[in-house]
């Protein structure tokens, strides 16, 4: 029965782009990617209780990584994907292992510096990263002899989203998911129950960073261009805001938050122009003060 539901969701999400125009298709693809990012970040922040500002940087590392390995180094696609993923994992481990040894806010601060440093390196990377202009005018190499593009490429994004959700869903219900929640709610008690707190944090951070990297690799062939402004710090805040507004710790919350905050600027632009960030900030303060369980929490209260 559950398999039927997953297949139905996949078919519905995958069929939609064939009925959309090219503009709406583009919006739809980015919406799916944001949902995938928010789901991953929710596992780290909402379920494991760790704040990091590097989630969007890893999205960028994945995107730049695969493009550089494919077109500057000239590797075949499967190897480029695996290597880019490996880079994400190694970087995440380098940051997380020392940062999670310490109590408190260290992971957030180190990853804030990492995210900023990433942008500096992109801008100064010369011919490797293409500097401020980034890299453009490349195309996804043929997969089994066929060029995947247009609405068909949206299938890849839907597959990524469904796999991300399925993986996080399973993990959340496993021993590891419960360990993560225990680490979030009471690290001392978790340690007393035999949970290795530091290792749990490191695994959660590395896993979600790798998922962000995967989403980035998929993103690289959505616009066929990667450049520094796309991966700025603003978006790291936006993912955090999506999860808080939607409801941290719940997959449904991450999805609702991502859909709402992604689409809000489109609805608000006739009213507030480019100042939708003002509404976002107010929503976040309001959410933390008034509805700490997010929009999902409000939904729960009324549906009971």
């Amino acid at each position: 029965m559950r398999v039927v539901a997953w297949v139905a969701a996949f078919v519905a999400l995958a069929a939609l782009p064939f009925f959309l125009g090219s503009y709406h298709n583009d919006v739809y693809r980015k919406l799916l990617l944001w949902v995938a990012l928010a789901l991953g970040y929710n596992f780290l922040f909402g379920i494991c209780g760790q704040v990091a500002f590097s989630h969007f940087a890893f999205y960028g590392i994945g995107a730049y990584g695969v493009v550089i390995l494919l077109f500057q180094v000239g590797l075949p696609l499967p190897i480029a994907i695996l290597l880019a993923l490996l880079i994400c994992v190694i970087l995440a481990l380098i940051v997380a292992i020392p940062a999670t040894r310490l109590e408190g806010f260290y992971l957030a601060l180190v990853t804030l510096a990492l995210a900023q440093l990433f942008i500096v390196l992109l801008n100064e990377g010369g011919t490797v990263t293409g500097g401020a202009g980034g890299i453009a005018n490349y195309r996804l190499p043929p997969i089994f002899g066929t060029r995947v593009s247009g609405p068909t490429y949206t299938l890849v994004i839907v597959a990524l989203l469904m796999l991300t959700l399925a993986l996080l869903w399973r993990l959340d219900r496993s021993w590891f998911g419960r360990a993560c929640r225990a680490v979030r709610d009471n690290p001392e008690a978790a340690a007393a129950m035999g949970v290795d707190v530091a290792r749990t944090k490191v695994i959660a951070f590395t896993l979600t960073s790798a998922l962000a990297g995967m989403a980035g690799m998929v993103y690289a062939f959505v616009d066929n261009t990667v450049n520094p402004p796309i991966f700025g710090l603003e978006n790291a805040f936006l993912i955090l805001f999506m999860v808080i507004v939607g409801g941290a710790g719940r997959h449904a919350g991450a999805i609702i938050g991502a859909v709402l905050l992604f689409l809000l600027p489109f609805w608000l632009s006739p009213v507030v122009g480019h100042h939708h960030q003002l509404i976002f900030g107010a929503l976040v303060v309001g959410a933390i003060l008034l509805w700490p369980k997010g929009l999902v929490g409000i939904w729960d209260r009324f549906s009971r």
Partner: protein, 291 residues
């Protein structure tokens, strides 16, 4: 050598700005444990205050400065009452006010960006533009003004923490909130005061730096990160750490961009590398925390 001395004055001046930003964080972190990234935006608000009062309405500098600092203190304590206190009273985890203040950061920046044109806005110098030569050391009036004001602020902060009962109560709260409350210290008043002080110091930094860089709605985040890096280098334990961290950071930044054989763009990465290394290797900072 001449070149180095010239550099030293301007590096000291920017180190003072970073030190003030670090002090703003420190005033709030010590009693509450709350890292408030909105300090950068507060510096930005004060820079716009300076633009409005000093440049557009042409007030005398001292009066404008006093009004801006007073306004910042009120803004800081209001922010604390509206966003931090309800969460602390509810017993929310420490993360909640930190994240709420990130929301405040965005709201503050956007309110300014809606209210003013997007171009950099001029803020006048307190004195005419000119050079002051003290023996072999020379620099702009503004550099010396920044250094003097910062020195006064840090001496004041040091005296406050070391010599006054109020300062001692801040320290007591920092060491042990419960015990301090049991000793009759009013926790919420200490918290409100720490936010008022933090906003005033951040505002002062914004006002001092703005004649050189102009008031711009995106100036906050870099200041917030530089100030935070200074704080991490110096350590959150002591007031002197803030200014020490600021000076170390500014000299590292300016010396690498002047003398190191790397492209100037990479020099922007120097403070970030410093921040990461200190956080990962020496998270207590350079100075030892006093027992």
């Amino acid at each position: 050598m001449q070149d180095f001395l010239e550099l030293a004055v301007s590096a000291t001046a920017s180190g003072c700005i970073y030190g003030l930003m670090a002090l703003a964080y420190l005033l709030m972190i010590r009693p509450t444990g709350i890292i408030n990234f909105a300090v950068g935006e507060w510096a930005m608000v004060a820079a716009f205050g300076g633009h409005l009062l000093l440049s557009r309405w042409e007030w005398p500098y001292a009066a404008g400065m006093a009004v801006v600092i007073l306004f910042m203190a009120i803004l800081g304590s209001t922010t604390e009452r509206m966003t931090v206190r309800p969460l602390v009273e509810r017993g929310a985890p420490l993360l909640a006010p930190i994240l709420a203040l990130l929301g405040v950061l965005v709201v503050t920046r956007e309110v300014i960006s809606v209210s003013f044109p997007p171009d950099p806005m001029p803020v006048p110098f307190p004195f005419d533009i000119g050079r002051l030569e003290l023996g072999p050391i020379g620099g702009s009036y503004q550099s010396f003004f920044i250094i003097t004001v910062t020195a006064l602020v840090f001496i004041g902060a040091w005296l406050f923490f070391e010599k006054t009962l109020w300062g001692k109560s801040f320290e007591a709260v920092a060491l042990n909130r419960r015990a301090a409350a049991l000793m009759g210290i009013n926790l919420s008043r200490v918290t409100t005061l720490s936010f008022a002080g933090g906003a005033a110091v951040a505002g002062l930094a914004g006002l001092l730096v703005s004649p050189n860089v102009s008031a711009h709605y995106l100036m906050g985040v870099p200041l917030a990160i530089q100030g935070f890096t200074a704080l991490v280098i110096g350590g959150v334990g002591r007031v002197e750490g803030a200014i020490l961290g600021g000076l170390v950071l500014a000299f590292a930044e300016q010396l690498t961009s002047r003398y190191a054989p790397i492209p100037s763009g990479f020099a922007q990465g120097v403070p970030l590398v410093f921040l990461m290394i200190f956080l990962l290797v020496r998270p207590t900072g350079l100075l030892k925390v006093r027992a």
